[in-house]
Symmetry: D2
Amino acid sequence: MIRVPAEPVGPFSDAWRRCVGTGRAELALRRDFQDSLRIVQREIGFDLIRGHGLFSDGMGVVRPYDQAGLRGVQHNFTYLDQVIDAYLEAGIRPFLELGFMPEELASGTQTVFWWKGNITPPRSHQDWADLVRATLTHLVDRHGLDEVRTWPIEVWNEPNLDIFWQDADEKAYHHLYEVTAHAVKEVDASLQVGGPAISPGADEWLPRFTEFTDRHDVPLDFVSRHAYTSGPAQRVPFSSYQTLAPASGLLDQFATPRRQLQGTRYAGLPVHITEFNSSYCPDNLIHDTAFNAAYLAPVLAHGGELADSFSYWTFSDMFEEAGVPTALFHGGFGLLTHRQIRKPTFHLYAFLSRTGPDLLALGDHHLVTRHPDGRVTALAWAPVDPTGETPGPDRHEVHLSIPLAGTEAFVRRSTVDETHGNAYTAWRAMGSPRSPKQGQLDMLHEASQPSRTHDRLPLADGRADLRLTLARNEITLVELSPVVDESFAWWDETRLLGRDPR
Amino acid sequence: MIRVPAEPVGPFSDAWRRCVGTGRAELALRRDFQDSLRIVQREIGFDLIRGHGLFSDGMGVVRPYDQAGLRGVQHNFTYLDQVIDAYLEAGIRPFLELGFMPEELASGTQTVFWWKGNITPPRSHQDWADLVRATLTHLVDRHGLDEVRTWPIEVWNEPNLDIFWQDADEKAYHHLYEVTAHAVKEVDASLQVGGPAISPGADEWLPRFTEFTDRHDVPLDFVSRHAYTSGPAQRVPFSSYQTLAPASGLLDQFATPRRQLQGTRYAGLPVHITEFNSSYCPDNLIHDTAFNAAYLAPVLAHGGELADSFSYWTFSDMFEEAGVPTALFHGGFGLLTHRQIRKPTFHLYAFLSRTGPDLLALGDHHLVTRHPDGRVTALAWAPVDPTGETPGPDRHEVHLSIPLAGTEAFVRRSTVDETHGNAYTAWRAMGSPRSPKQGQLDMLHEASQPSRTHDRLPLADGRADLRLTLARNEITLVELSPVVDESFAWWDETRLLGRDPR
Amino acid sequence: MIRVPAEPVGPFSDAWRRCVGTGRAELALRRDFQDSLRIVQREIGFDLIRGHGLFSDGMGVVRPYDQAGLRGVQHNFTYLDQVIDAYLEAGIRPFLELGFMPEELASGTQTVFWWKGNITPPRSHQDWADLVRATLTHLVDRHGLDEVRTWPIEVWNEPNLDIFWQDADEKAYHHLYEVTAHAVKEVDASLQVGGPAISPGADEWLPRFTEFTDRHDVPLDFVSRHAYTSGPAQRVPFSSYQTLAPASGLLDQFATPRRQLQGTRYAGLPVHITEFNSSYCPDNLIHDTAFNAAYLAPVLAHGGELADSFSYWTFSDMFEEAGVPTALFHGGFGLLTHRQIRKPTFHLYAFLSRTGPDLLALGDHHLVTRHPDGRVTALAWAPVDPTGETPGPDRHEVHLSIPLAGTEAFVRRSTVDETHGNAYTAWRAMGSPRSPKQGQLDMLHEASQPSRTHDRLPLADGRADLRLTLARNEITLVELSPVVDESFAWWDETRLLGRDPR
Amino acid sequence: MIRVPAEPVGPFSDAWRRCVGTGRAELALRRDFQDSLRIVQREIGFDLIRGHGLFSDGMGVVRPYDQAGLRGVQHNFTYLDQVIDAYLEAGIRPFLELGFMPEELASGTQTVFWWKGNITPPRSHQDWADLVRATLTHLVDRHGLDEVRTWPIEVWNEPNLDIFWQDADEKAYHHLYEVTAHAVKEVDASLQVGGPAISPGADEWLPRFTEFTDRHDVPLDFVSRHAYTSGPAQRVPFSSYQTLAPASGLLDQFATPRRQLQGTRYAGLPVHITEFNSSYCPDNLIHDTAFNAAYLAPVLAHGGELADSFSYWTFSDMFEEAGVPTALFHGGFGLLTHRQIRKPTFHLYAFLSRTGPDLLALGDHHLVTRHPDGRVTALAWAPVDPTGETPGPDRHEVHLSIPLAGTEAFVRRSTVDETHGNAYTAWRAMGSPRSPKQGQLDMLHEASQPSRTHDRLPLADGRADLRLTLARNEITLVELSPVVDESFAWWDETRLLGRDPR
């Protein structure tokens, strides 16, 4: 039995809610995207949202013209404004990622993704800087400096990979960063700019990057990188299978930047993990499972000790890097599928959103917090086997002694596992309908709801004795609050069918 | 094992959805009422709604004046129009009950209920007839005759009880009916009028009533009565306890009018049970329980064989006959509490709304139907002990062999019992908060959802073998549909974590 | 021509938006009420809402019981919570008026209004104090002290009139106030309590009231009174006609409390005019007219100089003091009719809500303000003849020289007068349909919109020359902003139909 | 004066509402699109919607794969279902246009539009036929045959233009049509298929097409063509200027198919004008003007005499053929701009949606209809000068004698012209803000509302004398209804301010 202390050991960081990922910018124009974002914001509530493609051609920001003897480039914010307005209306702010390259400004034709983001350097860094300045100037004019100052601005995405940045040319990235950071600061010195947004496996880029910014006195307000634990993709049509390293590998990646910056002038700088997930493939069905939630639970619980934000990649399956999805469940990154079906990892976040600011205990499989009004939450998760050799244990016991005021506790337990709060397994049982009909969608929405139980426990010495048995891949949230009994004194359930009073 | 026939034994009547009851007319102006009605209509979908008080003073229909030498009575439809508009917008039509007596027209001062409905005959039957004519003329003008012709018009409520009709004066009721029926038909002969809307325990009123209409050639388009099975109220503050007769007693009451009309000129007339429930008390907590749902399940399943409609009294706890409710759960008649918490009996109706038009089997504890598209639903319910001597069996087996096309069935089971889909028991565990806070309401909404399980069953010889174990007071809906497997052939769940393909 | 100064002469007080009136408390349960309140809050945005009947029986706060040998009084907040929740959801806070007397606590049977508010003193001041304490304790528990502390608490309504307080017994009121104020402060000393909520014509009550509180050291955090300018009602059925004093009479009444408190220990106390309007009759058609808006315009413009709030009585025609309204337009107090038709006075408030915080000029018929972003608003109103001897001038000129940055002004003018933004006159033309059909309501909604014109004016020396001609009973809002021209340089309207370029 | 007959001369065809155009299929996923469609359906109410790109790659219908030794093409309806669901939810049905060519099936690389629709024939007509069959089979499975049977199916778009069909190869189109029509009928013989969807200027294609279908016995259920009156585009950056032929040219084009089919076996076939507008350029500002509405008014009034449908191209500016729009008003085809600002032509349609089914008179500048309930509508429009030589007359008189029941008429007039109901001119005055801020959008929404006047006219001999003066480019709708006066007899407006009664 774990005896949870009655006094907080410190605050519980809510870095987990700082940021979430999204598919490319113009997807924000879609209704399904906006419907999903509203649900995510209502039931979880992230602060920031980050995705690619702000300057890609679908956004129409750079509009060249050559007509009637008139020739030039027009900066055009029709869609950018619609995208940002959609974010703000949903109660979330942009974490701006500047990229990819508008065709008009590009030095080459290489693209990434089904939707063809151009990943080559600018032909003219001057034109690029003009674009950056014009965009930020417009945003400041439209939304005010006080607002835009709260939007971190990241330069490019994973320049260490040649699929994202031509030849993974590090020197060229440093140059792009330099030009961009100066352009940002010309709009206003208080705007926050950072990089290098590297993928896992390129840790050495960060020290070289900060050496560069240090040596050339280039503005740098935060550093960023990504974290994934999956191995190489084993491709089948429309899907990938991958091995996964243990979840601690994610925390190791979260921890790297602070360790690397230690002892430099950048030691205190915010560290943003601007993407993370188990698998980096947008078609790995692991994303849709309860396993994914149980696997990530300790990462979300501990991540705030290591980084200022870590952004789940992504909130919605409305995402087209590998083309239009071929089935409702297709291994997309989303917390939600198209049509807003909640996945187990959605519930992991929703459970976290019910935790309190005071940390009472954090262990290998439990996280106990308290709210100012005295409510206590205990999140527990089953151990998983990421090797895939076993299905994971089918029972796991967590036994907690929880401090609580009063004489009785109202105890609500919410469960997500292989058969509860699990629309994916219901969908498989249903026959995996690729584009379900309305009646099927209704059932999947219902299937996606966690199971709930409600109980009343006596307290002894201000403590509840909580014995939890977790099923395979279960995450469970237990909420305890002191009972204030407002029943009328004369109510007597034994009389409900008219029997004589006791 | 019950072998359900592969071919329908007939249609399954949807008389259960014909009508539902409501508190007095002006409550329809309330937002809580309208929010509840929308949920009921979306998830159940009744055709008609019936309640008291159309002419009571809160509706302001009769407005006397005496000013500046001008004197008279103005008929005023400000609220009536708002009420009917609210019904129609929610997709439900009024079953008009003409009553009670506007103070201005009343011959006496006797009232019923906290809200003081005057239950005395009109001082002048001429003035009453004017009111009836003016009201119906107005409704026809506003909504069209084709519409109003579908609204049954019932004269008064339970005239056989002296709390509802002064002295329970039968002759006076006959006179009122005669005057009213003629007034209705003067507006248009196709309008549908009926009565006598009697309470249980006054069966003899119906033959005397039809003798009267027959003898005097008074229009009569339908007959109506009420049905309840509860004994005398044992009062405690704000609550009543009562004994209940077996549920079959309700079916007996439903059956009486047709039996009584047999052989008369009225033999074919529609029979409307314009109110029914277990208890007639608006403060009997039995209404909030799973017991109530299991108790009424056979009544709803069989009722359509006996009457053209039977109207659950009532859809919402927004109801004030005994005053303003003192607690969220207070034994109100509603399918929904204030603030739209679904009760077990709500789910009984919601389960029925998922049945199909073809009846395959109807037994003591099961109802099996089929939809035109081949889906099959099986509703089952636990036996209950209405004596209250025992809590009812804690396990009940139902074993069905269900015919279904294809080779596999997708099987979804939805459960409501003492701990699932049961906000009342969660609320009790919570401490019975009389006016819950938002966070508590959210939990109660979640607690009110039925539990759902999803499975895939092999079919043998076109049949699924369905073994259901029901818990105490459980009602359960099983939905079976043929599996059409759309999985990609190459999907292999064993590879999810990157293991080599089988 | 009036040359409006380029620099502010001070702030423009928004005391006009501090508070608005409402019909009795339980009307807030109605959907029409809530729909109206949302519109008012979205388009105007008041801080507080005040009305009668918090403790009247329709709210069910005091529930006596006497059953099964149990006897007592239960305080019951089912509806109170629904009412306050509805306010807060709409973004408005209650200005609590404690009254009238629950029947159970009343010493007599005298009532006021169609809905029968009991206006007699408590039988037991102890029971009354218990009720006050229980209510405020409950509210603080539910909403938090920080919230409830912002809700002023007023004791009773117009005790100087014998229709509102038995015998208009001043000493009895002082006693009630004393008991109540102490009960409030026992819950928390920071709660704000005040009175005496007197009607016009009883100015002498205020000094006697403050003498009393001073002498007995009774808590007093604000003083309150009402203001109306109408003479005696000339009654016809369902309507009243009245003479009106000039609008300056309202300002005189607003000014009285501060003048009376001058030199006393209460000199700095907030002064709340907790009701005002032209006529105090809920059935005087003057409320529905453009005259009312033009008449009140100077009152709203100047009122903030004299009092901390002045609360228009009331925001909605959902109001039943004289019974259920007999026609859509019936002279109700509302800014909105039933079904949310905006009246001219609604637009007066909506126009004010577009003014800026900096006052540039305030004259007899104009109010000019500026926003921090440089936009300027000019509100102008026609002079009216409150004697009714003339219809008022049919043209009135206002000529303003308005300071503005830039070289051109975008000028939008919004007009409400006898034929624009005037659903009442459209309704009269339509035949005064008492309960309009949907198609008529749609037309009335459209008729209620102010007319709008749009123009572009050159600026000379940083000034726009604004010549306004106002029609009879017109209120007009002119909004000026500097033009930033973003047209493409090559656009040429003369080529729209393909003619050769100039 | 025109004496409008008291009896209908026939029905007024509502062919104008049969169909409306839209940008490419996947734009229907956008929220702005769906918001606009809802407004259009609520205020106008079209039956069908037609646009390009059903099979273009953005829809992801054809998904080739080649992985792990598995190779093939998957038909994928994820987005198609979302698009059609969005239509049906909005209450509109698809007019399916089959095209353009999925890259995977294309024989060449030639594309049209910014969004790159491939316009080459299929490499394999067998694969194309498979796609057509799979798609329709899926739609019938999802929506039912009764539903899909009401969706006309058109083969390709403007094959007579080499920008839409490689080499404008007529024989290749005939072949494509033949293969497609047979594929459609294989799914179900009752599905409706047609073509050839030709642009103006290719009238000779239709007889050759029907000769082909006749000779080869190819199914043909309707014929279709397009109609525009604009001359060659004079391009400036992001805009085009064009001459326009008189509006009668559109009616001539509408009339051609029926004339061409006369005397053939296809004489009775439905004729659908599947696109029409003044200009065919998506960046001609004429679309945003009052001129466009006045120009098209007679076309909409008379078009139903000549064709079974004529589909305005298009309902929304959410349209990307020429790239992402560079300004809110940019000459897009839409009835609505982005963000739902109504253009004058929107109001032309909205006015028509208020006409009645009985035609009383149709002249050069007026259309008078009657509703079954007796209401009469008169639509009038100013003459325009399409040469652009003059701005058009600034006054135009229409004098009508209108038959109406009763003794008085309630007359509402709604006006759209250069300064009323004209957000475009307000936007120009505002400085043409390319991406307006919220406050500007609010003003533009208000500016887009028609002006309304309300009057009461005496009737003489059952006729109202209606003298209308129309301003430049005005369209005006006058709605007349008999006054039923429900004023209280004792109301006296002269007493409003308390003067003695007359």
